[in-house]
């Protein structure tokens, strides 16, 4: 039996770092990813498509996205099983409840695992989040009531991965990996963690299209083959239509603003999608770092984010600290500022003012 697993598509999620156009492109990319995924399912002739939650964001989903989902799912002849997650939790007002889904769609609606036969001897147990938070684990204390191959589909947090996964993740429907075997389940197909994970008895496919910068790992849809004994083999397929890149650009040695511009332009040349450029190194006080100008270098990209947290100004602080001038006194007094970043910005600004710079904007 062949299944296609995906999760955490997060349709209609916001992208606070992006411009309006870039954010729209990113949202459109999500839809295209789903379209690719459904095409893959048809191409691979899978028996069913499994979505382990967070298909969309309940609080943001637009009517257009609801219709897109409904129509996309209706176009395929594959059976699709949906297990609502904490972002697309099931309620009477959920699109899961109000949309006119095609017959090939099965939505798990109970807060506990309930069975659906996939084929003779193969049962899929699924559960739904019925609230955006405080959903109890699905596997603790659960036990299948039948033989054959028992699979599970849910949006859940494996506890041991909380520290390893991205920060800020809440333990929605938490469970321990051992609970799956204890429940008599052969394998659990899960969502929530965006970083992919293939464990012995469970699989996190990760988000199929990039959501944030810094995402690592081969993520996307997972083609699953279930053997008669319940063993699974997994094959990841990239269905992403956009890319995110993290680039670090050192500005050490830059003599002037053009050096800065050239360095950034070179770093993002040839890239597409969304790019986050982190500027680092020491630059001379007189060197202009024009963030607006640098931003315009990314017009060929879906989005460009420029960070300056690792950038500092090359003041001879040791000499300034000894200088019996107002400038020296200013630098000495500024050493009392505890926040290093803030101190650096204050010192740079004050020194640029004392140096007579007309442009005091501090990058």
């Amino acid at each position: 039996m062949r299944l296609l697993l995906f999760a955490d598509l997060h349709l209609d999620a916001p992208f606070a770092w992006a411009s309006r156009e870039a954010a729209r492109r990113r949202r459109q990319n999500r839809r295209q990813s789903l379209t690719s995924l459904l095409a893959l399912a048809a191409e691979e002739k899978v028996d069913a498509i499994l979505c382990a939650g967070d298909l969309f964001e309940h609080e943001r989903i637009t009517p257009d996205t609801v219709e897109f989902l409904r129509a996309s799912f209706a176009r395929t002849d594959r059976r699709i099983f949906l297990a609502p997650g904490n972002h697309d939790w099931l309620s009477p007002r959920s699109p899961y409840a109000i949309a006119d889904w095609s017959p090939n769609i099965h939505i798990f609606t109970e807060p506990a695992l309930t069975p659906v036969p996939l084929e003779d001897g193969v049962t899929l147990w699924g559960a739904a989040h019925r609230a955006p938070a405080n959903t109890d684990g699905f596997f603790a204390g659960f036990r299948v009531d039948r033989g054959g191959v028992n699979l599970a589909l849910a949006h859940a947090s494996e506890r041991s991965l909380l520290g390893w996964q991205e920060t800020g993740k809440q333990p929605h429907a938490p469970f321990d990996a051992a609970e799956i075997a204890a429940a008599g389940l052969d394998h659990a197909f899960l969502g929530h963690y965006h970083r992919p994970r293939d464990a012995e008895r469970h699989t996190y496919p990760g988000n199929p299209d990039p959501l944030e910068f810094g995402e690592e790992g081969e993520r996307g849809a997972v083609l699953v083959t279930v053997a008669a004994d319940g063993a699974v083999t997994r094959e990841r397929r990239n269905v992403a239509v956009s890319a995110v890149h993290d680039v670090t650009v050192s500005l050490s040695g830059a003599a002037h603003g053009d050096d800065v511009r050239d360095a950034v332009a070179a770093a993002i040349a040839g890239l597409d999608g969304s790019v986050r450029v982190m500027l680092e190194g020491e630059v001379a006080p007189a060197v202009t770092v024009d963030l607006d100008g640098l931003q315009r270098l990314g017009e060929h990209l879906d989005g460009l984010v420029i960070g300056t947290g690792q950038l500092s100004r090359a003041h001879d602080l040791a000499a300034l600290l000894d200088e019996p001038t107002i400038r020296g006194q200013f630098v000495r007094d500024a050493q009392a500022i505890a926040d290093e970043s803030f101190r650096q910005r204050v010192v740079t600004l004050g020194l640029r003012a004392l140096d007579g710079h007309a442009d005091l904007e501090v990058a």
Partner: protein, 931 residues
């Protein structure tokens, strides 16, 4: 630090030229183009070198290179210097200004490279002073321009000090930096007032708008989901209504199918039994109906009634003899009786009033009793008892007055004589005698007085009584006059004049008046009773007339009697007339009975005829006895009924068949039954539940379907309306994600501006505090430096100096007046000198290593007159005892002063030759030194 020598290996026009300098004041004099600026630059670059870095360098560096690179040898730009530090070390510095490679600093004594001590890319000796290249230039070098600026603009001195205090003179003053930061804050942050339009307010407004838009987007999104859920529920209700309708319609179809199948079976059965229409029974039925009607008429024929009593004719005759009912009252009407009783009472009252009283004597109405009594009173004599008493008293008084003698004259005479005599004797003879006689005279006088008084009192009483009597006497006289008038009146009237007689007449007149009053009262009562009687009579007549009685010319009581008699007659007539009604009813009844008898007779005859006619229909003997015919007809009828009943059954079945077919054919019915069965089969899927299947036999299924259709229409309508509303809502639904992104962007911008504000405010605060602190510490340093040399600079005119810590403004106190004057108000020369003193102090202050900084002065005396120039030079000469000073000048007067004033042991004058000079003493070496 002292500079011993500078060697221009390849520097501008120089190639290997050497400039040796003394430790004190060095005056480098020469005309324009003699190389002063070149040596000035060579000294500075020999000490500091140039920055080593990528790129073309700064504009100042490029300008320096353009001016001082060796002419024609771009690849070599070399300069060297030897300096002596305060710790005694002698250092040779070589600067490869072009390549910036062969640069080094070498300790001459140790032969060791000490470049690292001062390395800033290349060796920079200003590091030994705690300075850098830029700071060295601004601290150690004093240019002609700076002196000129101080001389031309008084406030420049203060600004120079501020700039030096802030950045060692390399950049802005603290005030400029603060102003720049403040302007930057206005530009980058701005105010936060409502009306402000700066970045902070703009960001705040943008954030507020974005948050409001986000809240709106979320609310509308929530409403959308809510409404969508409502639509889903409405559609579910519509679906349920549709399902219920489907069930009902399926049940109805099932039932219709079953019923038409039953009908078809029946039709087929009837059709088989009656392939053709049965024979009509009308003919049979018609004869039977006639026989039946004849028998019915026979059975219904009436019995002949029996008649008794008077015939109708007799009754009619008797009735004709009776009088008609009278008109008018058959007994006296109550109104007449009441009126008659009223008349009786009036007559009785008149009777009881009786006869009139007897009248008295005729009344003489010329004198009323009152007039007579008044006349009698007047005829009586007046009675005045008080007057009589007073008259008696008067008589007594008169008598008394007449009895008193007139004896007072003598004693009076005696008194006169005695008094006269006594007086004369007293005067003439003997006073004593005179007095004695006079006393006697006085006594006589007293007696005379007493006697005269009694007479006077009696007369007075008489007078008083007379007075009291006067009114009485007048009244008595008036009364008497009236009595005489009354007498005359009585006589004229023929009345007696005696009062008593008149009184008697008065009594008689009063009695007569009373009798007349009684008679008048009786008359009045009598008249009233007569009027009542007349009224009663009229009322009786009226009542009688009202009742139709004849009253004309009759007395009431006669008319009444006639009325009563007439009533009694009418009463008798009425009793007779009353019999007519009973006779009428009796006559009517008789007539009806006689008519009924006729009708019965006719009916029985007709029944007999119809029986005989029926006998003909039944083919019986019509002339037979009727009773026998009837029996025979009944037998015939029974036989015929059985025959008709059979025929009627066939007709009824035929008619039922036709009704079942309802105008269609059996084939059509079969087709319809098949269609219904197919329809029922088609809808049968809806009848899955037992409840649905039970509907097949449920009553009122059609009504249920109608209700369900209505319910479905209602629910579907509600769902359609909700769907339309939802589509509208969805069409204008803002993107929550985009609203969140806008809010995040606005928040980020707000954070950026607020962060910028914090950074700027912090920098401003620190800068202001640093300015205050540095100025406060620098002020006494500058103060001491100037105070030390002030008497020399101003030739004793000022003896104290004060530096304002806030502004570094300098003031001096005038020795003679004791007044403080700001330096900017002093003469240009004094300002120049004080500026130099301040620069020296500032240079030393800014040097943080303790090393003594030399001073390189360029044409600082250029604009001074002779006196100021000498004074300045003397100050510099004095200063040079503490630090090396190199003064470049083109002024020959300065050179002459140096020639005359410098100490060859510690100072040096260097004369530079003009390129065009022919003085061999100055050529070829560009310098000539003394000392």
């Amino acid at each position: 630090m002292r500079i011993e020598r500078v060697v221009a290996r390849a520097f501008g026009p120089f190639h290997g030229e050497v400039l040796d300098l003394a430790p004190g004041l060095n005056v480098i004099a020469g005309p324009n183009e003699a190389g002063k600026s070149t040596w000035h630059a060579a000294i500075r670059l020999a000490l500091t070198g140039v920055r080593r870095g990528k790129g073309p360098g700064t504009a100042a560096e490029r300008q320096l290179a353009e001016r001082h690179r060796p002419w024609g040898q771009d690849d070599q730009w070399l300069v060297e210097a030897r300096i002596t530090l305060d710790d005694g070390r002698r250092i040779d510095i070589a600067q490869d200004l072009a390549g910036k490679v062969a640069c080094r600093a070498t300790d001459v004594g140790l032969g060791r490279d000490v470049s690292n001590e001062i390395l800033d890319g290349t060796p920079d000796a200003s590091r030994w002073l705690g300075l850098d290249r830029e700071a060295f230039a601004s601290t150690v070098c004093v240019s002609q321009a700076q002196i000129l600026s101080v001389a031309d603009a008084a406030e420049q001195l203060q600004e120079h000090m501020q700039r030096a205090a802030a950045t060692r003179g390399t950049d802005a003053t603290a005030a400029e930096a603060i102003a720049r930061l403040e302007q930057f804050r206005r530009d980058a942050v701005g105010a936060d007032t409502v009306a402000a339009k700066g970045p902070l307010r703009t960001a705040r407004n943008r954030l507020a708008a974005a948050e409001a838009a986000l809240a709106d987007a979320r609310a509308r999104h929530e409403a959308y989901l809510e409404q969508a859920a409502g639509l889903e529920q409405a559609e579910r209700r519509a679906e349920e209504a549709r399902r219920a309708l489907d069930e009902a319609e399926a049940a109805l179809a099932r039932r219709d199918s079953l019923r038409i199948a039953e009908k078809l079976a029946l039709v087929e059965q009837l059709s088989a039994r009656h392939p053709r229409p049965p024979q009509p029974i009308a003919e049979l039925d018609d004869g039977a109906r006639q026989v039946a009607r004849a028998l019915q008429a026979w059975d219904d024929r009436p019995q002949l009634p029996s008649l008794a009593g008077a015939s109708a004719e007799a009754l009619e005759a008797e009735l004709a003899s009776l009088p008609p009912a009278p008109e008018g009252d058959t007994r006296p009407h109550a109104s007449v009786l009441d009126a008659a009783r009223g008349l009786d009472l009036a007559d009785e009252a008149l009777r009881q009033h009786g006869a009139p009283p007897e009248s008295g004597a005729p009344l003489d109405d010329s004198w009323t009793p009152q007039q007579l009594r008044e006349l009698a009173r007047r005829l009586r004599a007046p009675q005045l008892p008080d007057a009589a008493r007073l008259e008696a008293q008067l008589a007594s008084a008169r008598a008394e007055s007449g009895a008193v003698p007139s004896r007072w004259q003598l004693p009076a005479l005696a008194a006169v004589v005695l008094l006269g005599l006594g007086g004369a004797l007293g005067i003439l003879v003997d006073p004593v005698i005179g007095v004695g006689i006079a006393v006697a005279g006085a006594a006589a006088a007293a007696v005379a007085w007493f006697l005269g008084g009694s007479r006077r009192r009696a007369r007075a009483r008489v007078a008083a009584l007379e007075t009291a009597l006067a009114p009485y006497r007048q009244a008595a006289a008036a009364a008497e006059r009236d009595r005489h008038a009354a007498i005359a009146t009585a006589r004229d009237a023929g009345l007696p004049i005696e009062p008593e007689a008149v009184d008697t007449l008065a009594d008689r007149a009063a009695s007569a008046a009373h009798d007349h009053q009684l008679a008048a009262a009786w008359d009045a009562r009598h008249a009233s009773l007569e009027a009542r009687q007349a009224t009663a009579r009229a009322a009786l007549l009226g009542a009688l007339q009202e009742r139709g009685a004849e009253v004309s010319g009759l007395e009431p009581r006669e008319a009444l009697a006639r009325y009563v008699a007439a009533s009694e007659e009418r009463s008798i007539q009425a009793e007779r007339a009353a019999r007519a009604e009973g006779l009428g009813r009796q006559l009517e009844a008789r007539r009806v009975a006689e008519a009924a008898l006729g009708a019965a007779t006719r009916a029985r005859q007709a029944a007999d005829v119809r029986i005989r006619e029926a006998a003909l229909i039944a083919r019986l003997d019509a002339d037979a006895e009727p009773t026998g015919l009837v029996a025979a007809l009944r037998a015939w009828q029974e036989h015929r009924s059985a025959q008709i009943e059979r025929q009627a059954g066939e007709v009824a079945e035929w008619e039922r068949l036709q009704a079942l077919l309802a105008g269609t054919s059996l084939a059509a019915l079969r087709s319809e039954a098949a269609e219904r069965a197919r329809r029922a089969e088609e809808l049968d899927g809806a009848l899955v539940s037992p409840a649905a299947r039970a509907l097949v036999d449920a009553p009122g299924l059609e009504g249920r379907i109608a209700r369900l259709r209505e319910e479905l229409a209602t629910e579907q309508g509600a769902a359609d309306r909700l769907g339309g509303s939802l589509r509208q809502l969805a069409a204008g639904l803002p993107s929550v994600a985009e609203a969140e992104e806008s809010a995040a962007a606005a928040a980020a911008e707000m954070e950026r501006v607020e962060s910028a504000a914090q950074v700027i405010d912090e920098a401003l605060g620190l800068l202001r505090a640093a300015e205050e602190q540095v100025h406060r510490s620098l002020a006494p340093v500058l103060n001491d430096a100037v105070a030390r040399w002030l008497p020399d600079v101003c030739d004793g005119a000022y003896d104290e100096v004060s530096v304002d810590p806030a502004t570094l403004g300098v003031s001096v106190k005038e020795r003679e007046s004791g007044q403080w004057r700001q330096v900017r108000l002093l003469s240009e020369g004094t300002r120049e000198q004080i500026y130099l003193l301040l620069r020296v102090a500032m240079a030393q202050h800014l040097v943080t290593t303790g090393e003594t900084a030399p001073l390189l002065l360029d044409e600082v005396t250029a604009q001074s007159d002779g006196t100021r120039k000498r004074r300045l030079l003397e100050v510099l000469h004095g200063l040079s005892t503490e630090r090396q000073i190199v003064l470049f000048t083109h002024d020959d007067e300065v050179a002459r002063w140096a020639d005359a004033s410098l100490d060859p042991g510690r100072d040096r004058l260097v004369r530079l030759a003009s390129p065009w000079s022919s003085d061999p003493g100055l050529l070829p070496a560009p310098m000539q030194t003394v000392g």
